[in-house]
């Protein structure tokens, strides 16, 4: 393991953690709204949120690149704000990751919220709890398995992304060179031993995360 490897691992962990935190913050209200609303508008938003599941990451990356580039509206806006352009920066990569992993947060949460149903909310209201109070003291605790699944899946999915990173982040050490990109470099350079460390590490990581999630969710049910 070289310093480059450790830098990539650290960067990947940082990216996945920040992405997960942002996603839980954004995805929870979004999932709540989607679970409680049934209108054409909410269905459109629901479909839009799900799109990263079926689109090739390169499509997503391509459009994000155009949007955040110097000619794109987002790019012009960030330049006007004095932030510069986002592509090939850590921030740009973070935004892309959030969009790319959004369905992995929203879907489990939406299902968990739906499963709670209206009754516990009505009960809480008759026990003098305001809607805001109810959300934190009843809805979130009851949705805990969904929250755990959402967090773990978002984290793991971000760790595993490659196409979006390549399109929007490129390959800048310490900035955007995450494990999956570094692994690609190693293979291209025929450094198979180095590649093995990273590839096997990812394999073990994914297995442990998914096994842990299954065990955790099973424990909740018993």
């Amino acid at each position: 393991m070289t310093a480059d490897d450790w830098a990539a691992i650290w960067l990947t962990a940082k990216l996945a953690t920040l992405t997960t935190v942002l996603l839980l913050g954004l995805g929870t209200p979004l999932a709540w709204w989607l679970a409680r609303t049934d209108s054409l508008w909410s269905r459109c938003v629901g479909a839009l949120v799900t799109m990263p599941l079926v689109l090739p990451p390169t499509v997503l990356g391509f459009y994000l690149l155009l949007l955040m580039g110097s000619q794109g509206p987002v790019g012009q806006f960030t330049t006007w704000l004095g932030l510069g352009l986002l592509p090939f920066t850590f921030t740009g990569l973070l935004i892309a990751s959030v969009i790319y992993s959004l369905p992995f947060t929203v879907q489990p949460l939406q299902q968990a919220f739906r499963a709670i149903g209206a009754r516990p909310l009505e009960v809480a209201a008759t026990l003098r709890a305001s809607p805001y109070d109810t959300f934190f003291s009843v809805v979130l605790p009851l949705a805990r398995p969904g929250l755990i699944t959402a967090a773990v899946m978002s984290f793991a999915h971000t760790v595993g992304e490659f196409g979006v990173v390549l399109m929007i982040g490129g390959n800048i050490p310490g900035q955007t060179r995450v494990i999956s990109v570094l692994l690609y470099d190693r293979v291209e350079a025929l450094e198979y031993t180095q590649a093995h460390y990273l590839a096997a590490g990812m394999l073990v990581f994914s297995f442990v995360v998914l096994l842990g999630l299954h065990l955790l969710n099973r424990e909740r049910r018993v």
């Binding site: 009754r119 516990p120 009505e122 009960v123 809480a124 209201a125 008759t126 026990l127 003098r128 709890a129 305001s130 809607p131 109070d133 003291s137 009843v138 605790p141 009851l142 805990r144």
Partner: protein
């Protein structure tokens, strides 16, 4: 406390349109077939029906006034609601379920204290358990205690026994009796079981197809001969009685009531116990003279107060006064003519069965 309401709610095929005035104390039963709108009405009182329109006033406070755009949210109304099925929070143990409403009630507004509620519903031994480890009856008792600990101004019960089997019902009914006797809080009780109505209610609201068809004190409302056809089998009276003594040889309780003495099969009663007896119009027959060679035990002399047509053209409903006790008898029109009954006729009422509640 008094409730005045003129409410409509519902979309599409079903529509509730209820105008009613509920007393500020005792138990009011909302009775009707399923689909009659009794649960919708209860949910309107709680503020859980977003389509509710009209006017609702509780002890002088306006909770809903669509014309003025007033609609108070449920959590600001202070109503307790016990649902048909278990509705305890699955993530909290019994203690924390009970504390949920209590903690959100300002100290100055708390009326029932912790030990009182535990004792009233017999749940002190369940505090550390999770809801999934409770029986159906225990869950409902905890749900009732939880609602009471939030010191509601009105306790609403939506068929709290309907999802339970008979032994569980028998387990909870005595607790409901106690609530009725020991708490000053007005209760609105939705049910389609006349047995529960007769046992618990003081006031009755009859609903049919989303409308209030009759409302008033329990016994006089049930004795009304003009109830819609679907309620006709329920017409009768509820008699308040006191156990005079118990005949241990024949296992009969002798009850004294406004109309004299009634004898009913003994059910664990002791002398001086208060009880309620239900006498349905279809279980009362009339004779002009006292028949002594009959198996019917309860025979009371009375005077015909009114004769009304029944929903079936072959029958009439005869209202009687036995002393101060009103009774209703459903007999055939033919018998009525043969006996030449008219207002003021002296008759004997033979009560074929009197149900001890």
């Amino acid at each position: 406390m008094r409730v005045r309401a003129n409410l409509t709610c519902g979309l599409g095929a079903f529509r509730l349109a209820a105008e009613l005035s509920l007393p500020g104390s005792g138990v009011t039963a909302l009775f009707g077939a399923s689909g009659s709108g009794k649960t919708s009405l209860l949910r309107c009182l709680a503020g859980l029906e977003p389509t509710a329109r009209g006017y609702l006033e509780v002890s002088g406070e306006v909770w809903l006034d669509s014309e003025r755009g007033i609609a108070r949210s449920t959590h600001l109304r202070g109503v307790g609601l016990v649902f048909q099925e278990a509705s305890l929070f699955a993530h909290l143990d019994v203690r924390r379920n009970l504390e949920f409403g209590l903690q959100r009630t300002p100290v100055a507004q708390r009326r029932l204290h912790w030990e009182g509620a535990l004792e009233l519903l017999g749940i002190a031994h369940l505090l550390e358990r999770l809801p999934m480890r409770l029986s159906g009856g225990e869950r409902q008792r905890v749900a009732i205690a939880r609602a009471l600990l939030a010191s509601p101004r009105m306790l609403l019960l939506d068929e709290p026994l309907a999802a339970l089997d008979q032994p569980r019902k028998d387990e909870i009914l005595p607790y409901l009796d106690r609530l009725h006797r020991e708490l000053a809080i007005p209760m609105v009780y939705v049910t389609h079981a006349m047995e529960e109505v007769s046992r618990l209610a003081d006031h009755l609201v009859l609903l049919e197809a989303g409308r209030v068809v009759a409302a008033g004190p329990l016994s006089s409302t049930l004795a009304r001969p003009d109830l819609p056809a679907s309620f006709e089998d329920e017409i009768g009276v509820i008699v308040q009685a006191v156990v005079a003594h118990v005949d241990s040889q024949y296992q009969l309780a002798h009850l004294s009531c406004a109309g004299g003495e009634l004898r009913v099969p003994q059910q664990g009663l002791k002398p001086a116990d208060g009880c309620r007896v239900r006498i349905r119009a279809r279980d009362v027959s009339l004779t002009l003279h006292e028949e002594t060679d009959t198996s019917i035990l309860n025979r009371l002399p009375g005077v015909v107060a009114a004769i009304h047509p029944s929903s079936h053209p072959a029958q009439v409903l005869v209202s009687l006064l036995v002393g101060e006790l009103p009774l209703v008898a459903r007999i055939t029109r033919l018998s009525c003519d043969k006996l030449q009954l008219q207002v003021g006729s002296k008759v004997w009422a033979q009560i074929k069965s009197a149900a001890l509640l």
